[in-house]
């Protein structure tokens, strides 16, 4: 049983401030990945523990309201299991389509979600900046 933990990791904080610049150096965090690693997420993670073979998907980014108008970043994306049954236990949000290090914004770990070939998961990631 994995711990249901989710962190905006330290690189995610860096990505956040970069995106506030007049000319950001990096991309927005919109690529979602999934994997089978079970080590609970921590603030210092830099990538997924065991990424799956499926490609990252481009999520749809929107502003949502949790406590204050537009205080929440939401990213929604779907990944289809294409290469064998697997138990998904981690999810990551990246600021890059393919790079494995240096671009992780958020990592989550959770109890296994069993997928068969052809099944897909729609992940909805919410990051709330007003924690009132």
């Amino acid at each position: 049983m994995a711990a249901d933990v989710v962190y905006v990791v330290s690189q995610g904080l860096e990505i956040t401030t970069d995106r506030l610049l007049d000319s950001p150096n990096g991309n927005e965090p919109k690529w979602i990945d999934m994997g089978t690693g079970t080590t609970p997420a921590t603030a210092t993670d830099t990538t997924l523990e065991t990424p799956g073979p499926e490609a990252r998907t481009v999520g749809v980014m929107t502003q949502e309201t949790t406590n204050t108008t537009d205080d929440t970043l939401q990213v929604v994306g779907t990944i289809t299991c294409t290469t064998g049954a697997k138990a998904i236990t981690e999810c990551g949000l990246f600021a890059h389509l393919t790079s494995t290090t240096g671009f992780l914004f958020l990592r989550a770990t959770f109890d296994a979600i069993n997928l068969q070939i052809g099944d897909s998961i729609e992940f909805t990631i919410q990051v709330v900046y007003d924690q009132a």
């Binding site: 049954a85 979600i113 069993n114 992940f123 919410q126 709330v128």
Partner: protein
């Protein structure tokens, strides 16, 4: 406990998941990670995982 895990000084994050099986069956697992998971969401996740585990077992058994 969960609020400490999620990092009090960082933005608070939550993850929701919904599985669509190859057959078209939709299994909503609700919030799967993050603080303050509601009782309803936990129940949804438990029922959804039970269904997915059953599917996995059937696939292994070839039934």
């Amino acid at each position: 406990m969960e609020e400490v895990r999620s990092g009090m000084r960082r933005p608070e994050a939550r993850l929701f998941a919904k599985v669509t099986r190859a057959s078209g069956e939709v299994i909503d697992l609700g919030q799967v990670a993050g603080p303050r998971i509601s009782r309803a969401s936990r129940a949804k996740g438990k029922a959804g995982r039970k269904r997915l585990n059953q599917v996995a077992k059937e696939a292994r058994d070839g039934s």
